[in-house]
């Protein structure tokens, strides 16, 4: 029998331990439980519902390292709640419910090449997976990270990306949609990086997160390379009010994005992805 959670709708108080501005519209919060234990167990790909006192609650994916359990969230300012969240300071209290949702298939990917294709803020939910892969580096084949951003100013985790790029056991390619100023890296959509990325398509797992349209095009390129549909995983975004399959908002066809997702194998959702307004 599954564990029962009796008060899943009541946020637990956490304190903001660190605030970091990432880009002009994104920031990262590091949280610590008010009750003292800073540890929170989660799997890469899961999300929390974050509550700002009196303003509201939003689902935000977890971006920290799953092995040390530090609760880290990178958020983009897109609405009232995220705007209020962006104004929080160290020591402020924030409500947390979770972790919720399905994880990236990091276990099943063992022994295989891993191809991460991500765009924009989509890198945030994939960072825990990357931490996991790097911690268990010997258990995987090639690891490729393809990341697209709007412009160089919009690149998330820039310093970390540089460190990853410097590693010999990790293939990192970053591209931007607009090459401004002194940018001398790749310019063009992230899907353009897929045809030449070094991985064995027949023994690879791909993890994809970004705007839905970007994911659709990414899948086409991955399939062209020969990765089977069942080995491509996408993380979807839908309206969520509860995170536990009770409020109905996140339905995507028969799936509750909050509990059957957000991570789905492509073959499970491909028919729905092609349709409008599902």
């Amino acid at each position: 029998m599954k564990a029962r959670h009796s008060e899943p709708m009541i946020p637990q108080p956490f304190r903001v331990a660190k605030v970091q501005k990432e880009t002009f519209d994104t920031f990262t919060l590091q949280l610590k439980s008010s009750k003292g234990n800073g540890v929170s167990h989660f799997s890469p790909g899961q999300f929390n519902m974050l509550y700002v006192f009196g303003v509201g609650e939003v689902p935000i994916s977890i971006s920290g390292d799953p092995s040390n359990g530090t609760l880290i969230h990178t958020t983009r300012v897109v609405g009232n709640v995220t705007k209020a969240m962006g104004k929080l300071k160290v020591g402020d209290v924030i409500g947390v419910r979770g972790p919720f949702g399905t994880p990236w298939p990091v276990e099943n990917a063992k022994g295989k090449d891993v191809v991460i294709v991500t765009g924009g803020i989509g890198l945030a939910p994939l960072r825990p997976a990357l931490y996991y892969f790097l911690k268990h580096r010997d258990e995987y084949g090639k690891i490729v990270l393809l990341y697209g951003a709007r412009s160089k100013e919009d690149i998330l985790y820039r310093r970390e990306l540089e460190q990853w790029r410097a590693r010999f056991d990790l293939e990192v390619h970053v591209t931007v949609d607009r090459g401004t100023g002194n940018w001398r890296g790749n310019v063009g959509v992230v899907t353009m990086l897929i045809p030449k990325a070094p991985f064995d398509a027949h023994n690879a797992v791909s993890l994809v997160c970004g705007p839905e349209i970007m994911m659709r095009f990414t899948v086409l390129e991955l399939l062209k390379r020969g990765i089977p549909e069942s080995k491509i995983f996408l993380s979807l975004e839908r309206n969520m009010k509860c995170g536990i399959g009770h409020c109905g908002h996140c339905q995507f066809g028969p799936h509750f994005t909050c509990k059957d997702g957000p991570v789905f194998p492509y073959d499970q959702i491909k028919d729905l992805l092609e349709k409008r307004e599902i």
Binding site: K2, A3, R4, H5, S6, E7, P8, M9, I10, P11, P13, R15, S34, Y51, F53, G54, V55, G56, E57, V78, G79, D92, V93, G95, E237, R238, N239, K241, C242, I244, G245, H246, C247, G248, H249, Q251, G253, P254, F256, K259, K275, R276, E277, I278
Partner: protein, 385 residues
């Protein structure tokens, strides 16, 4: 479909004049009795003090977008089909405070939860209503996470169901396999029989608690003749239901009809008012609203019923996923008759017909379902409307 009383159980008779005893014993036992009563030109559900508040001698006439109360020729207490309200409002309140929080010197703190909810006795649940409750149970308590507000209320209810001898024009429980008689899920099931001057209730016991309560009321064992009469009423009710839906291939047909031009046609009539979701006994969607007092020192979070017909329902930053009304109608219908099966193993519709009665545009869900069944979208058909 259940149109026969359970032949393996002892059936009992409680006379009409002894019915107040049922109220007395339940109230004495600490129950808050909720049942049908007349208000605002409709039979609604509310807390009842006694038999006198039941809709004595009234029935309802229903049709597409039509509901009228009509006087009966007899003094039946349960001689109507179903009103605009459903029992879910007592277990899953239309608005419910999830929590309150107070600002403190060092941040804020969540207040203790709400007062314990009443112990309900639901009097007059129909078979379809009981089926709806089973569906809500699957949503709120059967999964990994339980809704504590629902569970607290649900655990202690005493259910007295009424087998339907009156059917409305919009009833289609026989197609959904949920009526007109209740097969299980009740503590006591009543069939109201008026036979000339005789007015009595044929009673089936569904639980130990039901047996205990019945033991406190004046009753006797039912005769074969009385049982025959009850069966006759139920069979007649089942036969009187004329709305039919062939559910066998429905999920498959609908799943293939995602791009059917019919959605657009329905949308030309649908006002996206969400009435159908409000009166539906299984619709469970909710949203949350956050409030603060003027000083900003106390915050509360309210859970409210929501509807997939609201455009904000599917909002993610930048816009709503389902912005057209056809997409929203499709979401509602597909959820009830296709994806609910994937999610919960059954249809999300119990055939009560409320959505047909209370749709201001008179959209008849069974008519639409029949349309999809009769005009399936072939794989090769052009997909544009």
């Amino acid at each position: 479909m259940n149109s026969n009383l359970n032949a393996n159980k002892d059936l009992h008779i409680v006379r009409r004049e002894d019915l107040p005893q049922l109220f007395n014993i339940l109230i004495k036992d600490g129950h808050q009795i909720v049942g049908p009563t007349l208000r605002d030109g409709a039979i609604v559900l509310d807390v009842l003090e006694g038999v006198a508040e039941l809709p004595l001698g009234w029935t309802d006439e229903q049709d597409k977008a039509r509901y009228r109360l009509v006087k009966r020729k007899d003094e039946a207490l349960f001689g109507y089909s179903c009103g605009p309200q459903t029992w879910k409002k007592f277990l899953f309140p239309p608005d419910h405070i999830l929590f309150k929080a107070d600002k403190t010197r060092h941040g804020w703190r969540i207040d203790a939860g709400e007062n314990a909810p009443p112990k309900f006795a639901f009097l007059g649940m129909r078979a379809c209503d009981i089926h709806a409750l089973t569906e809500l149970d699957k949503v709120f308590i059967a999964g990994e996470y339980q809704d504590s507000a629902y569970l607290e209320r649900r655990e202690n209810i005493f259910i007295i169901s009424i087998n339907c001898s009156v059917v409305g024009n919009n009833c289609f429980c026989t197609s959904m396999g949920s009526g007109p008689g209740a097969a299980s899920g009740y503590d006591l099931a009543l069939t109201e029989i008026i036979d000339g001057d005789l007015h009595y209730y044929l009673i089936e016991v569904g639980s130990e608690k039901g047996e205990e309560v019945l033991g406190e009321i004046k009753h006797r064992t039912a005769s074969q003749e009385e049982i025959r009469k009850g069966n006759e009423l139920l069979t007649a009710a089942a036969q009187a239901i004329s709305l039919k839906v062939d559910t066998e291939k429905l999920p498959k047909i609908l799943k293939k009809s995602v791009e059917h031009p019919r959605w657009k046609e329905i949308a030309s009539r649908c006002l996206t008012c969400g009435n159908c979701t409000m009166v539906c006994p299984t619709c469970f969607c909710s949203t949350v609203q956050d409030y603060t007092d003027l000083r900003g020192s106390q915050a509360s979070r309210l859970r409210k019923w929501d509807s997939c017909f609201n455009i904000e329902y599917s909002y993610i930053h930048g816009g709503s996923v389902r912005y057209s009304s056809e997409a929203r109608y499709r979401q509602w219908m597909m959820h009830k008759f296709a994806s609910w099966i994937d999610q919960f193993g059954s249809f999300g519709c119990v055939g009560c017909g409320r959505c047909i009665t209370w749709c201001p545009a008179g959209i008849d869900v069974t008519e639409e379902l029949r349309f999809f069944c009769q005009n399936p979208l072939l794989d090769t058909t052009a997909k544009s409307a």
